[in-house]
């Protein structure tokens, strides 16, 4: 019964994952009359968008579902794949349902995509969301607050509801609840990875990019109940690995399944970080916008896209390895991803110093052949099982 329930939920998520024309968003708009605002990885102030009555819609490219024609005419061969499929989908009308798009400051490619957007869609809201690399509330905090206030005004000019502190407070609470549920599923996977296969968890996270937050939270609850009751999910002899580097352009679903089939339990990862970006609940008392700013500055995940102010590069990854009881690390980055690939030598150094086994490979969102990766991951998992301590 519960197996079927979980399967049905995941099937729904998979439909949403393949819904590149954003029909679910279209239906939401027809139902509510609200605005839909797209955003690219990694972080966007979804709480603020929600508080103004709009739907924040996460856009993560076209995966391996889109044939790229126009996108390749926009980019040279040495630029990553995500912007190609994103602009392809935009130019073929798939994103017409979006009333605007936010481009968070994570790398030069996404930054310049905001410029392409402005040139191609001059009537639409296209906003580069500059986030501070100075994390002092009096300096970077003031800048971020002004950015968010400016965004809020722009949303209002486009037809969103005006900013109201009480509405933002309610939105912060809803997203806090959502993050709690996601964290709980991550913990369940960490403790009993056979109950929460990563490909399922990944699809659940992806669903959160297009569903209203309360619907997504309900979905997470249903899934958790279903898998906890499911007696057919039993432990396998797999190696516990932490997968890092896949925070922007996402690997194809087939690659995640391949890694699991190759003998890996993925017990921590970097997928779809927007749903886990804040490491604790955003404060609800006091000025909610200030609380959102503080959460970004002081309680966000470590990321290659954020300046490492303390110079402790790699220690966060080593901590995550310990916390997740991972036996090895898979560096799994998209080709030509500056943040991931420039960061990697620094984190590898920490991983090596800590004596943690690792392996690395690259992918593109439309990678179609997994045989080599399967063999590499399988060998890595085998070596962990042979030469490290007992696996889960």
């Amino acid at each position: 019964m519960s197996t079927l329930a979980a399967r049905a939920l995941i099937e729904r998520c998979e439909e949403l994952y393949h819904d590149l024309r954003l029909d679910s968003v279209r239906h939401w708009k027809e139902r509510t009359g609200g605005l839909a605002i797209g955003y690219l990885p990694i972080w966007a102030p979804r709480e603020l968008v929600h508080a103004q009555g709009a739907l924040a819609v996460g856009v993560m490219g076209g995966g391996d579902d889109v044939e790229i024609i126009k996108g390749d005419a926009c980019y040279q061969s040495y630029i990553c794949h995500l912007p190609r499929s994103t602009i392809e989908l935009a130019l073929d009308g798939s994103y017409d349902v979006l009333d605007g798009m936010l481009f968070p400051a994570i790398c030069d490619v996404i930054r310049n995509l905001s410029g392409i957007w402005k040139l191609e869609f001059p009537g639409k809201l296209a906003r580069y969301l500059d986030v501070p690399q100075d994390f002092d509330p009096a300096v970077g905090g003031e800048f971020l607050r002004l950015e968010l206030e400016d965004l809020s005004r722009e949303l209002e000019q486009r037809g969103a509801q005006p900013y109201e502190p009480a509405a933002l407070r309610s939105s912060l609470a809803l997203y806090n609840e959502n993050r709690t549920r996601i964290s709980a599923l991550y913990e369940l996977r960490r403790d009993e990875p056979w109950k929460v296969p990563t490909w399922e968890l990944y699809l659940l996270l992806r669903a959160g990019l297009v569903l209203p937050v309360d619907e997504h939270s309900a979905l997470l609850d249903q899934y958790r109940q279903a898998v906890e009751r499911d007696t057919e999910r039993r432990p396998l002899d797999q190696a516990r690995v932490l997968l890092t580097g896949s925070f922007c352009e996402q690997p194809p679903l087939g690659l995640i399944k391949t890694l699991e089939r190759a003998g890996c339990y993925i017990v921590d990862d970097d997928f779809v970080q927007v749903g886990r970006w804040f490491t604790r609940d955003v404060e609800l008392d006091g000025d909610p916008l200030a609380n959102l700013v503080d959460a970004f500055l002081l309680h966000s995940m470590g990321s290659p896209t954020r300046y490492d102010e303390r110079g402790s590069k790699g220690t966060e990854l080593v901590r995550r390895v310990a916390e997740s009881r991972a036996e090895g690390v898979l560096f799994c980055a998209p080709s030509f991803c500056d943040p991931a690939l420039l960061d990697q030598p620094m984190t590898v150094r920490s991983i090596e110093a800590a004596g943690i086994p690792y392996s690395s490979f690259k992918y593109a969102e439309n990678t179609g052949q997994f045989q080599v990766i399967r063999e590499q991951a399988g060998t890595f998992a085998d070596s962990i099982k042979l030469f490290s301590g007992a696996s889960a």
Binding site: I79, R111, L342, P345
Partner: protein
């Protein structure tokens, strides 16, 4: 052949610049004895006046990388960095720098560079800068101070952006410089430095504008990289820079008076056949060979965007002694790679018009996503707006594996044939 056959000559100003650079690197090599301290920083958004306000010596890793490349060293440096785990996909400047460091940190003049006493991360217009200095910090263990310069996403400097940069200068950068130098910040000295900067900037802007003449007395891309040298590196705000630009201006005036074209690797260009605007950085591994491909076609670059990465002076920006920190903020915010694509398109269209150019060539480099991502769209947009012929070339900054001479020459020849045909068609 549109050039004379005489051996390439160096301009007087070029020789002066060489001496300035040699003296600077000699000073860097002697820091162990002199006790002077060095600050590593980047070209775009560099705060040379502020660094020198504390009598600290600037070191610019991008310039070291390109100099290594021109000396034929980048191939081995990059190979070493890749062997150490740096991806083939990322910026070759970074790998060249890491390789140089791992090979003994010998600078362009053959002398060893000092380790940084401070890494001043001027984070302007390039994401890679942040990772580059995180990497160097891990290598050197040097203190690091970040100056985050917001991106001009709408082609406008807002008060919020300016305030944010000034606040970082006051609260982060200046205290870090005070700490490393042991000296107090001297505002009067900074005003005087900025006055000297503005004086030199006037002359540089005049030199860049001289390309509006026919024939152009300068090449504003290949020659331009020499002209911007002192301004973009360690000398802005010094009397040396003022003297250099005064001499350069006089030299260019002489060429104008004599009706001469620019000096190229093939000699003085006698017949200017084509006038083009170039977007993107040059290739450094085969710099003269690349330049010669243009010169052989009788093509002069009359305006380029690369020569604006370290400051946009030809449209009027000047450092302002009356508003020192605000002026430094505006300088950082206004560097070319910190401008949105729409503004970059507008700049290119303006250059094509004001410099009466035949067309636009984009030189796209694999290493630099800040420049390259979006260039194909920009190219199409410029063609749409101006109707002038556009062309696209690809290679890299300092990785020789990506420089294909035959391919580039072929593309350039085809492009100039197209321009000639278009011109002939217009005459008929």
């Amino acid at each position: 052949m549109s050039t004379t056959t005489m051996a390439p000559l160096k301009d007087r100003s070029q020789l002066r610049q060489k001496q300035m650079i040699a003296a600077h690197f000699a000073r860097l090599a002697r820091t162990a004895e002199s006790g002077e301290k060095s600050v590593y920083t980047f070209v775009p958004g560099n705060l040379t006046e502020l660094v020198r306000n504390f009598d600290l010596l600037p070191v610019l890793p991008e310039i070291n990388a390109l100099q290594s490349s021109m000396r034929g060293k980048s191939k081995e440096y990059i190979a070493l960095a890749e062997k150490l785990g740096h991806s083939e996909d990322v910026c070759s400047y970074v790998k060249c720098d890491i390789g140089m460091l791992k090979s003994g940190n010998v600078g362009p003049t053959g002398e060893r560079l000092p380790a940084p006493d401070l890494l001043l991360l001027s984070y302007t217009g390039c994401f890679t800068f942040m990772k580059w200095f995180e990497l160097l910090r891990q290598e050197y263990g040097a203190p690091t101070v970040m100056l985050h310069v917001p991106y001009q996403a709408d082609g406008v400097i807002t008060d919020a952006m300016r305030r944010y940069v000034v606040a970082q200068l006051e609260k982060k950068v200046i205290p870090a410089l005070e700490k490393v130098s042991g000296k107090k910040f001297d505002l009067d000295k900074l005003r005087e430095q900025l006055r000297l900067s503005a004086q030199a900037e006037d002359d540089l802007a005049w030199v860049l504008h001289s390309a509006k003449h026919r024939p152009s007395p300068i090449d504003a891309y290949f020659g331009g990289v020499y002209y911007i040298g002192p301004m973009f590196s360690a000398f802005r705000g010094t009397q040396d820079a003022v003297d250099y630009y005064r001499e350069l201006r006089a030299e260019v005036q002489e060429r104008l008076d004599a009706g001469l074209g620019p000096v190229t690797p093939a000699g003085t260009m006698e017949h200017e056949k084509f006038r083009v605007v170039v977007e993107g950085p040059p290739n450094w591994t085969s710099f003269n060979e690349f330049w010669r491909m243009f010169a052989d076609e009788g093509a002069v670059v009359v305006a380029s965007t690369y020569t604006k990465v370290g400051g946009f002076y030809d449209f009027g920006y000047r450092h302002d002694p009356e508003h020192p920190l605000e002026s430094l903020a505006d300088y950082c915010l206004g560097c070319y790679t910190n401008l949105d694509l729409g503004t970059r398109v507008a700049v290119l269209c303006r250059y094509l018009e004001e410099y009466d150019a035949d067309g636009l060539l984009v030189h796209s480099v694999k290493s630099c996503n800040s420049f390259s991502a979006g260039q194909l769209v920009m190219l199409a947009e410029v063609e749409k707006r101006t109707g002038r012929p556009v062309g696209f070339l690809e290679s890299d900054l300092v990785d020789p594996r990506y420089f294909s001479a035959a391919n580039l020459k072929n593309r350039l020849e085809s492009y100039f044939q197209m321009v000639a045909q278009k011109r002939a068609g217009a005459r008929r």
